[in-house]
Structures are given as C-alpha cells and as structure tokens.
Assembly symmetry: C2
C-alpha cells in the first residue's frame, strides 16, 4: 500500500433538513480527487434528510416507560429507540442493544441526543448506502470527479472500552476486501481472509473529525481508494453487517 493522508473538513453552519450535504462539503473548500474517500458523520446526513424526531410529538408506550425507568433514560427517547428497532438484542446497564433496518446491531438504534436541536433526537438515515450513493453522485455532477463516500457512526462494541468509527453507508469504495488466495511470507494461504476496509476508513476518519463542537463532521482520506478498488469487493456498508444466522452473538 502507499501512504495516505486524512484531512478534516470543517462545516461552519448548522445543517438543516433539505440541505445538500455534497454542496455543504464543496462549499467548505473540498476539492475532490479520484483517489479520495469522503467520510461523513451520519448526524449531518440525518439532519439534511430530516431524520430528526420532535420529542414533543412522541407518546411513550408502557413498555418504553418501564424500560426508561430501568435505564434512567427519557421515556420519549426510549420510545424512539424502540420504534427504530427491528429487534431488541439485549438490554445493557445504560443502553438498549438493538438490531435496526438492514440488520446492523448498535446501541439505542443509533438514536443520538447530542447535536440534535433542543427537544429533538437524531435517528439514522433511512438507507445510509443510498445516502452515500446520492452524495457521491452529486459530487460527480458538480465537479466531474468520482470519489468514494462512506457515512460513519461512532459505536461501542463488546469486550473493549471506548467507541470507534464504523461505516454505516458506502458507495464507490470496497468495504470488505478479500485476501483469499494471498500468501504469507512462507507462501501459505492467509488465515485471515476478509478485511473490513469500510470500518478501517471510518476509524481513520474518526481520528481527524475530532470533537462534535469543533464542527468537523467530515474528513477526506486521500491515497487508498484506487488500491482498494483494484482489490475489489462490495461497495455497500450493508455487506459489513453479519448475517444473524451466522452470528454466534445473536
């Protein structure tokens, strides 16, 4: 692999429903290059798509009330978490682990109280792979340059402390790269065969995005896209979600 660079993209103004995320990023001075992967925090994609819930319009169910008391959370927020969930996988001490549309497992269905306008919560984009495709397409329309796009979320995980960046939407860059057939130093086939490049890109971008209040909800990773495309692989984040039937943790 060659060296690569990661640069934060600063978006000064608040993102509102109806905003064009590609335009906001280009207006922020981003100059696309074919070897780029543009990483965008889902919060601004959700906001632009209107994936925001006004809590004053939410009526919590008795189940949400019970769960909220147990978790010490706002019953209205818990109600939104349950509405966004396909299945409740497990109830933790301070969160509800759920499976959302598309099968992704995450805490609280990805419902985000931070960075939402007061009295609101941010939910995940309806179809983050489609959001990534749309943003990629808009950048190509505006500039003539094709780039990869990933939509990121910040998530906790079993066994390890702290949150990391993961890809929840993608277009134009392989999210899984299969090393099958590659050989080790001694010419044997590699044991570890599939690398989650989409999540590696999201993690690298997370390092550059920094704090929420710094207004850097996007970053560009320049220098790996072409090498990843050469190796091939699916260009959706849906491919990163393990099939529940093959998951010993569900």
């Amino acid at each position: 692999m060659r060296p690569f660079e990661v640069r934060p993209i600063r978006i000064e103004r608040e993102v509102k429903p109806g905003d064009d995320v590609a335009e906001l990023i280009l207006d922020a001075g981003y100059e696309p290059h074919p070897d780029d992967v543009l990483a965008i925090a889902h919060t601004i994609v959700s906001k632009a798509e209107g994936a925001i819930v006004d809590l004053s319009e939410v009526e919590p169910s008795p189940f949400a009330e019970t769960l909220a008391e147990r978790l010490g959370k706002d019953p209205k927020v818990v109600e939104v978490v349950l509405r966004e969930a396909e299945t409740v996988v497990r109830v933790g001490p301070h969160f509800i682990l759920t499976e959302v549309r598309g099968g992704m497992v995450c805490a609280n269905s990805g419902v985000d109280e931070s960075n939402a306008p007061p009295g609101h919560v941010i939910v995940l984009p309806e179809d983050p792979d489609a959001s990534a495709r749309r943003i990629r397409c808009r950048i190509r329309e505006e500039t003539g340059v094709d780039v990869g796009v990933i939509i990121t979320d910040t998530q906790g995980r079993p066994f390890r402390e702290g949150v990391i960046g993961v890809a929840i939407g993608a277009s134009g860059v392989p999210t899984l790269v299969d090393r099958r057939g590659d050989r080790d130093l001694y010419g044997r086939e590699l044991e570890i065969t599939v690398v989650a490049t989409g999540d590696l890109l999201a993690a690298a971008a997370e390092l550059a995005m920094g704090q929420a209040d710094e207004g850097t909800p996007a970053a560009v990773i320049r220098g790996v896209r072409r090498a990843l495309i050469d190796k091939g692989g699916p260009d959706t984040a849906a491919a990163l979600v393990r099939d529940p039937g093959e998951d010993i943790f569900r």
Copy 2:
C-alpha cells in the same frame, strides 16, 4: 484536529528471535518525529521476542483433540490456543473465543498460523504494553526522539463482517480519550464520552500495512500524537480491555 498522514514501513528481511524491532524499523529508513505514533504488527514483535511455538513439541490433551475435531483444526494448534487462554468465552463454528492474559477477548488466543516459520505458530507477546514501552525507549535511545508506539493485532468482532486493526500494546500515546465535559453544537454535554483512540490508530495503520506478503508490518501515523496527548488519557492497551464484570457479553 489537524490533518495527519499514514506511511507504511517496509521491512525486507524475516524477523527472528533476538532481533531488535526498533533497530529494524530505523534501518528501514524510518525517521522519528515527536508527533508520530509508530504502529507495529504484533507478529514481528512476537517473533523478535521468541513468542513462537514449535508444534513438534506440543502434545495435545484429549480436550484439545475433541475440540480440534469439532472445529476441523490441527489438535496441536488447538492445544496452544488453550494453553494461551485464561478462559474459553465461547466456541464458534470455526474458532475458539478466549480471554487471554490481561483480560483481552479474541479468537484463538491470538495464535497465528500465518507468517510463522513452517511447523510453528506465533503467539501474542508476553506483555504487549511492556513491548511497546521497550521499543519506544530504544527509539529514544537511538535517535533522541520520543514517539508513541502501538502494537497491533487484526481481529474479528461480533455483529460485523471482516477483521479490523486493534491496539494490544501501547506506550506514549493515549489509547482512550475522554470527551466528558465537551459540549455539542447546542452546548449540551456529549453522550458519547470515551473514544478508543488506540484502536482508531491501529485501524488507520492497518489500511497502510496492506498484505502480509508485502512485508509492511509497521506504519507511522504522523500528525495526531500531540493533540491526543493534550487531551490526556491512559497510554496502555490494557485500558482498552473492558472489565469482565462490566461486560454484558461475558
């Protein structure tokens, strides 16, 4: 955050027990800078430390034989996996999920058949945080420059496909950064408070390290170390391991 750069470090020759990893990396042309985090794949650290097992000297127990048959694995390799484990957390379809020294949970106790000399397997370094401290110290001795060091492994995880890079050893760079007290765009305290910066660095490095047979078992991440040190946090990978008592997945 500022932009940063990730560069692979190529080590042409095979690493052998007794080798000085810091020297190998400096000989490869690496010029240290105080804003660097040096990421090193544990395989070369293990090899240099002699953390290699000769399978001809391993006598599998009856339990290892039974498990090996069920998993379709070499009974001698399974025996090494069990010897390296503190606890067996779960037995998956093709792997044994274990807890190793220090409490880290990983597949097959981190025992690696790839990149090991024929008839051998590579195990995890005895104390990867201590390995990172030693390598950091040697680089400072040789060059006068203090850098951060992380030792990385490539691991699978629940719920998601593909493997990612994680930090299993660290020195001189915060592995967890607490955002508590930071505020969002609307001035509210952030919900997500602790970021696993050690694992983000490992993931970014993994993108640059590429394939095993390319001989790039190390990478340098230049441009984030000082900003992370300013934020503070523990500089060990042990801090990334969730306390089993607080882990709903164990």
